[in-house]
């Protein structure tokens, strides 16, 4: 599947003379090419990640949005080459170090991979409840991680306390307690600290706040944007809750049926989404602003990984579906400077499915 080709910094309508400045600003930190994950089932091969081609920009906050069963968690594991057995990860993932040196992640030896993980890219799982070893104190988790990366020096231990403080946690009390003695919110924040102690360049978070309360979720998110400023890392935030990440994310990538269907700046993806599924999702998400008459759910259900409908996976549920949609699987097409959508009829989406979100409108050139 030809994606958007080379990660070109193609002519964007920003003025060109500030080339270097925009240059460094938009360099990718991760480049994914035809990344797929397949599971061998006796009823056939199930592709839980279907040929994803996408770039993640340095120091951006990227929101990966998708419903359960859309393959978004698999994308997160792929970034760390940590797909659960017996999954087979294929395609190539290139990571660019701070001095622009490309690293082929899938080609790393086990030793290098162990060094790469948590040092360059670290991850926070959804189930904070059991990400800690129940019979060890929180302190020994930090100590053993630092030792594993031969960074068990005073400076790092000092940073642990600093991190915990930034996350509104009293250092020593939390460090000396066992995981079962902490509340859900405290455990999740301690886990975030644990994932940041080696100053990774990329932090991947898979639904980190799903199990928490509203107030705790919102507070952790506002903490995250402060942390990102202070510790300068790229944040990949994976969730099913679109409104939650609206203010946090610079860009949004929408996943459906194990592939990327739309990606672009947050305001564009919400304000003028160009893919029918994104629009349907926006109209189906309960929130306080849209009048209730305009809210309606999406007919049908997401496809099963073993039998994904031919052509565009969304065609059975799409009001715009045509003959072509049932035969060809559309690639990501550039609809704006940094805005892609995988749909043949993206430009007449506007009048077919209006977005009932206040402030959203048909304006396409933002």
């Amino acid at each position: 599947m030809s994606g958007i080709g080379m990660p070109d910094f193609g002519p964007d309508d920003h003025s060109d003379e500030v080339e270097s400045e925009t240059e460094s600003e938009v360099t990718p930190i991760f480049e994914l090419e035809n990344v797929s994950v397949e599971f061998e089932m006796d009823r056939g091969v199930s592709r839980v990640l279907d040929d994803v081609t996408f770039d993640i920009h340095r120091n951006e906050v990227l929101g990966v949005v998708g419903e359960s069963g859309s393959g978004k968690s698999m994308l997160a594991s792929a970034l760390l080459d940590a797909v659960v057995d017996p999954g087979v990860l294929s395609g190539d993932i290139t990571y660019y170090t701070s001095d622009e040196r490309p690293i082929d992640v899938l080609g790393l030896s086990d030793r290098d991979l162990r060094k790469f993980r948590w040092d360059a890219v670290s991850m926070v799982f959804q189930g904070a409840m059991n990400s800690f070893n129940p019979v060890m104190t929180v302190r020994s988790h930090f100590k053993e991680t630092l030792e594993a990366h031969s960074a068990a020096d005073e400076e790092h231990f000092e940073r642990v306390h600093q991190l915990l403080e930034d996350l509104y946690l009293e250092g020593d009390r939390v460090l000396d307690s066992y995981p079962h003695e902490l509340s859900g919110g405290q455990k999740q924040r301690a886990l975030i600290a644990l994932s940041l102690i080696l100053r990774p360049n990329v932090l991947v978070m898979d639904e980190p706040t799903a199990a928490l309360d509203l107030l705790m979720q919102r507070s952790i998110l506002s903490l995250l944007s402060d942390l990102k400023e202070k510790y300068e890392f790229t944040l990949v935030f994976i969730t099913h809750d679109l409104p939650l990440v609206k203010n946090l994310c610079d860009r949004l990538a929408v996943m459906y049926a194990f592939d990327l269907v739309e990606a672009g700046p947050t305001r564009e993806v919400i304000g003028s989404a160009d893919h029918p599924y994104t629009r349907a999702l926006l109209n189906a998400t309960p929130n306080l602003d849209t009048p209730i008459e305009d809210m309606n759910s999406i007919e049908g259900s997401a496809p099963d990984p073993v039998n994904v409908p031919p052509g565009c996976a969304y065609n059975p549920r799409c009001p715009l579906a045509e003959q072509r949609c049932e035969e060809e699987d559309p690639d990501l097409v550039q609809v704006e400077t940094d805005h892609w959508a995988a749909c043949f009829y993206w430009d007449d989406v506007d009048d077919a499915i209006p977005i009932n979100v206040p402030g959203a409108g048909g304006e396409t050139d933002e």
């Binding site: 009823r43 199930s46 839980v48 069963g69 698999m74 999954g87 990984p305």
Partner: protein, 356 residues
Amino acid sequence: MSPSERDIRSDAASSQQNAGDDADASPASAFSSDADYSMTRTDELRELYDRKFYAPLQILIKDYRGALGISILLLYILMGTVGVAVVPIPNQDGPRMLPWFRDLAFPLGTDGTGKSLLRMIVHATPRMLQMMLAGTIFSLAFSVGIGTLAGFKRGMTDRILMTVTDTALNLPGLPLLLVLVAVLQPSNPMVIGIILSINGWAGGARSLRSQVLQLRNADHVEASRAMGASTGRNIQKNVLPELMPLIMIRLMTTLRSIIFAAVGLYFLGVLPTNDNNWGVMLNRSYQAVDFEPLTNVHYLMVPLLTISLFGIGTIFLAQAFDRVFNPRLRAKYAKTLSGGDKDDDADAAASEAMLE
């Protein structure tokens, strides 16, 4: 107006004190469905047979352990019932210490007094079966009864029952049996069976109780309590079916422990015995084996293999039962169950789990 529609609304109306004026506000058309599916009585019976008997048997046979386990147990049961009638009573008419597979008349050879080993083995089985039967029923009744009651009732009853269970659990098995047998001198196999499992039920009670504790606050148990189901019905409908795998495996362990304990006591010569049985044969045979050259080994091997084979049979069956009670497999093998568009089986569900 299709029958079903009137039926629903009249039904809804009857529960309303003030019959709402909703005669004309009939629910939207999506509600009326005139499909009527009548199923004859035989269909229902066939479905019941299919799901309760045919599918589990299918699963059992398909798994090599299940097939092996069942055939071993059947062998022993047949030996104890049909075998006894067919095989004549052992008498000392054969040559002494004839090795096995030498003479067709004495396929397993003979013992020191010329008795055919095969006949002795066969004729010892009925007493063993009776012991197993009595002991297992007693032990399971206590395990399930006390385990479920303690798990469900909580509070004082739970504490008392658990103290009794822990006491039975902590008493050393064999010495307790020896004391009981030495004093009571039992001879009827049923009584011996019960004595042998006097504290065997405790392990089962404890594991069943913890399973019931988990089930007790499962949502579907609470939902059926909300629907007015009595505790008894709740246990019978929601708790017991989920306990079946544990009960079956506990049944197999009990069978094994009773036979091993019985043979042990016979081996020690503590149980009164006039006729032959496996324990006595074991006791006499292991002293008769000598080495240069290796002779009389058959005399030891026959009882030894008989006992071990039984043990292996129970373990294979226990492992197979684990699969029988897995609803996924039940659906796959039952003929009358439609797979529906989610023609699902263990793998697809596994892949679903992987998506999360």
